[in-house]
Amino acid sequence: MIEDIIQILVLIGMMITAYLSVKSRDLMECAILLGVFSFLLSLEFFILQAPDVAIAEAGIGAGLTTAIFVMAVRKTTRWEVEE
């Protein structure tokens, strides 16, 4: 029962962060929210009994992809719509 509630909360958090990361105009905010999305996805994999995938998602999705996004935003522009 409580497990289900935890899982539901994780999923709702994923939906919220996905929506906000699409909606926001600040690409850094998008990157951060995408990071949060990735963390929650990793937790969801953990709950779904997939430890291999959870490690991969934690390492690649949460660590490296965020870093790559931050670097790409650094080398380009921070705001989605200029002027």
């Binding site: 289900d4 995408l34 999305f37 291999d52 991969a56």
Partner: protein
């Protein structure tokens, strides 16, 4: 109903991704949308293999056969690595495009190309 929530999440996240890819004009936003779609597909695969009350497919304690299905997890591993490869390549494209055009807006890029 409540056990379908992973699948509803998959659909909703996937459509957010599509929304970002189709309606947003920033190239990095497109990549973000792609990332979201890919995460949604990964979640779909993993939750497809979930067995209620099952344990991870690793023989640690007594030989239990009540395990979650292992194949989707293997496929998801492949898919995750492919996803990070694609993301890295697309972002490097973005960097080069910004270098040459000074903008990431797709419409402006197209206009500058003429």
């Amino acid at each position: 109903m409540i056990f379908n929530l992973p699948f509803i999440t998959v659909i909703i996240v996937m459509f957010f991704g599509f929304y970002a890819m189709v309606f947003r004009r920033n190239l990095i936003k497109v990549v973000i949308g792609l990332d979201l779609v890919e995460s949604a597909v990964n979640l779909f695969l993993v939750s497809l293999g979930y067995v209620k009350g099952g344990v991870a497919p690793i023989y640690t304690s007594a030989p239990s056969t009540h395990m979650v299905l292992p194949t989707p997890q293997a496929l998801t591993l492949t898919s995750i690595v492919i996803g990070v490869a694609t993301t890295a390549m697309l972002l490097s494209f973005c960097m080069v495009i910004y270098k040459h055009y000074g903008t990431l807006d797709t419409r402006k890029v197209r206009r500058l190309e003429e």
